[in-house]
């Protein structure tokens, strides 16, 4: 047994031993230990190095407020930096490392930074590194050289670079009452609400529910408080309207009483169960919340207060009572309030010698003096610690007479040899969650603490959170809050009897002992009291300026211990009262949250995949798949040894030579049904649809309200009141919302139903000289000749025993047909077509060939309808009906939209027979060295097998007027320059003789 482990007591399981490593050295501890308690028990005093000065640091706290003892946890190659050792439960095989030290924790070269202290005081970097005005280091160069070193010196832990395989999950929960904090107040609140039948969730960030009852040493209803709490927890566990969430930090209080909580599900296990996540991110929608988050102890500010061995009094008490660990053998206590006396007592009972209690207050109540007597200690009222000494371990302190009213010290300093100093600067209620909405905390002079703001959401508070610092008040308030939360009236409450140590709440308004030496306010960030005063001198006097100028409160602990002392020192410098200075803004998260948990199930799988009905066929037949939004689509069906260009050229030639087939299932399909369906279409399309005959389709163009082009596609009239609209793949969702908006908001009088039927239909477009013959060979129940199926006609029939709907329309420019069938039959119909088409030379083709054929035809897609072009720019003005208003018609003729210099659609032919690049620009005068004078850019390009040339579509200033003129492609990014000719965008078969057949 290590010298620091107490003989008995504590809520650890001494019967079992756990082995773990810290910085490569093997240690052991017990179930119930944290990494901090286990290391302390092993006599470790040095845990880490501070951020700026690399000062040696030990453990300050015992919980979530720890600023110093940060470690990196390793899980295989995955790294979790900056975890407070106080929040790590040990398990067999745990591997932890210290941080921010080189080469080792005990010998760190950067500790020389301490010498440069005054030089690198708050904000020093703003005042220097501006560099020379001329020469190679001018401008920002000099700063960037210096910055490299600063960056290397800064930072705490190291992040991993190997993907983390751990599982993270999200969970949605609903409840009547969420109780945050399972101390005496929270436990009582949960019980009261549960008894009224409310659905209750009780969350606490600690593994062991019970809060301070686990270490207060008090007696409740005749039982040690910890046992009382354990019994209460058991009662709650037994009822099924309560969910207990230990290891769960409620970290965010969002709108609508939505709270975010992080459950550390399996961090404490060596081997998580199968499928068990590491972290679970809870989103809890609570009708009401009980905030019972307790209070956090504050340090005192005096020289050397950061030495390993200087610890918060409450933390030490907790180590002794909850973990059976003695933070020191020779202990002094330094306080401005009564609560630390209990800590002295606890440590005394656990076997330490209490050398002295140094209290800034000159007058101490008889109760407390009496109580101190039991700790067999020297009492030093009206004294202060003016120095804590030692390096990696505390060796002693210096004490001087202190006058609290004037804040001055007097008399000779006296040295006291101790290996541990407990300090208490009073308590700050953990009001973070209540304050996240931005409401102002209220300063309480008696308690010297900020109390919760007025509720901005539906919560009630209880216990130390409200400033009620005694257990009987906490329990009383907890009960009342539990009832109030489920709108139950107050009833008779048998409050338990409590035996507690004496002590009044509140503390003396002493935050700093102002003597020479480095006195730390923000431990992790090395912000000293002098830094606060420097900020004051330089005019950074608003608390928010103070924070930003010194980085006070910006470390991983977010100033849980440091904020109040910091602003108190600023208030003193300004000669103002603390509430006039105010606090900085509270923000989520309450304590740091793993990014993995926030990504939840999306870690490793960002978005779902959308697959067409024929997806597996494409894969089986050699398709290279292309991610288009969420969809996967065949890019090419490459043959062995083919380049992409060779493949699409072959597929294009095959289609234009014989026949080709392409999966068009991804096209957006919207059923537009009802008596006013045609009317709606007339209003949203630029052209007329009410005149369309049943059994016919029409190409349509939609504009946005602002008159710019929005989307295009064909719409099929399947019945008098029944249309099937198709949209581009990318815009399917947007068009759907566009229509729904108009129907709901603008034209509620229209009787139209809009339904997304994209997934109902499998679609295959089959085109080419043999397309009709292939269909004729397999379609039953209808003819497909010109008479039965003219251009833009629709017929119904069967292929392979499956009902199909066929529309004759063409994107490829060939005689082509779109064949639609029920999606579950898509593969069957596709395979039938392939089978029947084989003797006709039918080839499947992908997006590249599709793109090639549309470029040859000059059809536009999203690359041209890019939200900045008008119908005129795209030469679609023939579609703008003059007979009716339509969405966008009023705005489409604004001066900027009809200007002569607008970018308009043209064709481009490469004159040097080299490929063109998408995104290349077009210039009139080539200047490779200093490119300028862009007149437009290429939107889509390909090798055109039909023309035997590299061609492109482009948007170019002036457009049509340039047809036949020479220009250059200018693509400095890819070093591609060369002559081009600007031509009409109709490259191929402009009369459409092929598709009309």
């Amino acid at each position: 047994m290590s010298p620091r482990r107490t003989e008995q007591g504590g809520r650890i399981d001494r019967a079992r031993t756990i082995r773990f490593t810290f910085d490569g050295a093997a240690y052991s501890g017990h179930p119930g230990d944290t990494l901090a308690s286990a290391l302390l028990a092993n006599g470790v005093s040095l845990f880490g190095r501070s951020f700026k000065y690399h000062r040696p640091r030990g453990v300050l706290a015992a919980g979530v407020d720890e600023p110093n003892a940060l470690v990196t946890i390793l899980r295989g190659e995955a790294r979790e930096p900056n975890i407070p050792a106080t929040m790590v439960e040990i398990h067999d095989g745990l591997v932890a490392e210290s941080q921010n030290r080189f080469p080792s924790l005990s010998w760190d070269v950067s500790a020389v930074n301490q010498l440069a202290g005054p030089l690198i005081s708050g904000g020093f970097y703003y005042k220097t590194f501006m560099g020379p005005i001329i020469g190679p280091l001018k401008g920002t160069r000099f700063w960037m050289v210096c910055e490299r070193f600063i960056r290397r010196a800064a930072g705490l832990g190291r992040a991993g670079t190997v993907p983390d395989k751990a599982r993270y999950e999200r969970m949605n929960a609903f409840c009547d009452v969420l109780v945050v904090g399972a101390g005496p107040a929270g436990l009582t609140a949960a019980k009261a609400a549960a008894e009224k039948g409310a659905r209750v969730i009780l969350a606490d960030l600690e593994p062991r529910l019970g809060g301070s009852a686990n270490w207060s040493g008090e007696v409740i209803d005749g039982k040690p408080a910890a046992e009382w709490a354990a019994a209460a927890v058991n009662d709650l566990r037994a009822v099924d309207n309560v969910r207990l969430l230990p290891r769960t930090t409620v970290w965010g209080y969002y709108d609508g009483n939505t709270l975010a909580a992080l459950e550390r599900v399996s961090d404490h296990k060596q081997h998580p169960a199968k499928g068990e996540p590491r972290h679970r991110q809870w989103t809890i929608r609570a009708k009401t919340v009980v905030l019972a988050t307790g209070a956090l102890e504050r340090p005192l500010v005096f020289p050397g207060n950061d030495r390993p061995g200087v610890m918060l009094a409450g933390a030490a008490e907790r180590y002794a009572n909850e973990f059976g660990v003695l933070p020191g053998q020779k202990v002094a206590v330094f306080t401005n309030n009564d609560s630390a006396y209990r800590a002295a007592h606890a440590l005394k009972q656990a076997g330490a010698a209490i050398v002295a209690i140094i209290d800034v207050r000159a007058d101490i109540s008889a109760d407390m003096l009496d109580f101190a007597g039991k700790a067999e200690t020297e009492m030093l009222p009206g004294h202060a610690v003016v120095a804590a000494e030692g390096g990696r371990k505390l060796t002693g302190i210096k004490v001087q007479r202190f006058d609290a009213a004037s804040g001055t010290v007097s008399g000779e300093p006296r040295s006291v040899a101790v290996d541990c100093l407990l300090m208490s600067g009073g308590w700050s209620p953990a009001i973070h969650l209540a304050s996240q909405a931005g409401a102002k905390a209220e300063w309480n002079e008696a308690l010297q603490a900020f109390l919760p703001p007025k509720p901005t959401q539906k919560w009630t508070g209880a216990g130390a959170f409200t400033g009620a610092f005694s257990t009987d008040e906490a329990i009383e308030q907890g009960h009342a809050a539990g009832l109030a939360a489920c709108s139950a009236g107050r009833d008779h409450f048998d409050a338990p009897a409590i035996e507690a140590a004496p002590g009044a709440p509140g503390s003396e308004p002493v935050f700093e002992i102002q003597v020479t030496g480095k006195s730390f306010v923000d431990f992790q960030h090395d912000v000293t009291a002098e830094d606060v005063r420097l900020a004051h001198r330089e005019g950074f006097v608003s608390v928010e300026h103070l924070k930003r100028y010194t980085t006070l409160g910006m470390a991983t602990d977010q100033g849980k211990t440091s904020n109040v002392p910091g602003l108190a020192i600023m208030a003193a410098a300004l000669g103002k009262a603390i509430p006039q200075v105010g606090t900085t803004r509270f923000r989520p998260p309450y304590s740091a949250v793993s990014i993995g948990s926030l990504a939840g199930e999306r870690h490793g799988d960002l978005k779902p995949e959308r697959l067409t009905p024929m997806h597996d066929w494409h894969i089986a037949n050699g398709a290279t798949m292309y991610s288009a939004g969420l969809w996967w689509r065949p890019q090419i069906y490459g043959h062995a040894g083919e380049t992409v260009e060779q493949a699409y050229v072959r597929e294009t030639k095959g289609t234009r030579g014989t026949a080709g087939i392409v999966d068009v299932s991804t096209l957006g399909k919207i059923a537009v049904q009802g008596p006013d369906a045609a009317e709606l279409l007339d209003r949203v399309y630029t052209n007329m649809f009410s005149t369309l005959a049943v059994g016919k389709a029409r190409y349509g163009l939609m504009l946005r309200e602002d008159g710019l082009a929005f989307d295009d596609g064909t719409t099929w009239r399947l019945g008098e009141q029944d249309f099937l609209m198709t949209t581009t793949t990318a815009n399917a969702g947007k068009v759907m919302q566009h229509l729904e908006y108009f129907l709901d908001v603008i034209w509620p009088e229209l009787k139209v139903t809009i339904t997304s039927v994209t997934d109902q239909w499998a679609g295959a477009a089959i085109g080419g000289p043999n397309a009709r013959a292939i269909l004729a060979a397999c379609v039953e129940g209808t003819a497909v000749d010109n008479a039965a199926l003219p251009f833009m006609g629709i017929v119904h029939g069967e292929i392979g025993g499956v009902p199909v709907m066929i529309c004759r329309l063409s994107f490829s420019g060939e005689m082509a047909f779109e064949v639609y069938c029920g999606a579950d039959w898509g593969t069957h119909v596709w395979e039938t077509l392939m089978e029947v088409g084989k003797p006709f030379g039918l080839v499947p083709y992908g997006l590249e060939a599709l793109g090639t054929m549309r470029i040859e035809k000059g059809h536009v897609t999203g690359a041209e309808i890019d939200g900045r072009t008008t119908a005129r720019d795209l030469h679609l003005d023939w579609m703008l009906s003059k007979k009716k208003p339509f969405v966008g018609s009023a705005m489409m003729d604004r001066e900027g939209l009809v200007a002569a210099d607008r970018l308009q659609l043209v064709g481009i032919v490469s004159l040097d027979n080299r490929p063109l690049n998408g995104g290349a620009h077009i210039v009139e005068q080539l200047d490779e060295e200093n490119p300028h004078g862009s007149i437009g850019h290429i939107t889509a390009c390909c090798y055109s097998p039909s023309l035997g040339k590299y061609i492109a579509l482009a948007l170019v200033e002036g457009g049509k007027a340039r047809h036949g003129s020479r220009a250059f492609t200018s693509d400095p990014l890819r070093g591609r320059f060369g002559p081009v000719e600007i031509v009409s965008h109709h490259f191929f078969d402009p009369e459409g003789s092929r598709m009309h057949g």
């Binding site: 697959l611 109902q760 999606a823």
Partner: protein, 200 residues
């Protein structure tokens, strides 16, 4: 599609549907996952004021008597129906032919019928942990009090739109777009591993 089609329908889940127990099942499975594969799914939309007649038509065609109220529904004897939006209903039948039957019963004066038999994939999750697993995906309250038997809910998991009907005390039918079905199924299986699951 009045007559039955002989050709087998291909489920989007076929490639990933692996019958048997999975995940942490050693101490029993928390949920069973399956694909009921109904013969027909239709969506019905009533014009404002015609909801009553629509509900009557549903009863005439399917024999299902829908309760009043938003999201109300029933599920019995291989058929199910529920409201999913104002005046809008999803009706499911293990047999095909529902769209044709409704096309006769619902006149243009009442509303519209849209066949989605192929467009939606129904995934069934059943068992003591069904609520727990679904709560990993959807931000709605699955407790019986908030989500009564037979009721339907429209909701989403990120990009995946879903209509969910409670078809048993611990059974839910989740309707998703067919194109997303495989992805969602895979995610659902993944999320079920913790409680152990069996694919029926």
């Amino acid at each position: 599609m009045a007559r039955s089609i002989e050709i087998e329908r291909l489920s989007p889940l076929a490639q990933v549907y692996r019958a048997g127990p999975h995940g942490n099942f050693e101490d029993g499975v928390g949920v069973a996952l399956s694909e009921p594969r109904p013969g027909s799914i239709v969506q019905l939309a009533a014009w404002p004021g015609e909801e009553r007649r629509m509900i009557d038509a549903i009863r005439t065609v399917t024999g299902l008597a829908l309760p009043d109220g938003a999201g109300g529904g029933v599920s019995e004897g291989g058929k199910a129906a529920f409201g999913f939006a104002p005046g809008k209903f999803t009706v499911v039948d293990e047999k095909d032919g529902l769209a044709a039957a409704f096309a006769k019963a619902i006149t243009p004066a009442i509303g519209t019928v849209t066949d989605l038999s192929h467009g939606r994939t129904v995934i069934r999750i059943e068992g003591p942990e069904a609520e727990w697993v679904l709560a990993k995906f959807f931000a709605i309250d699955f407790s019986l009090a908030a989500f009564p038997l037979g009721a339907g809910r429209s909701t989403t998991h990120h990009d995946v739109f879903a209509q969910i009907q409670r078809t048993g005390p611990d059974r839910f039918d989740v309707h998703v777009f067919r194109s997303f079905a495989r992805s969602f199924w895979t995610a659902l299986c993944h999320g079920s591993e913790e409680v152990g699951y069996e694919v029926a």
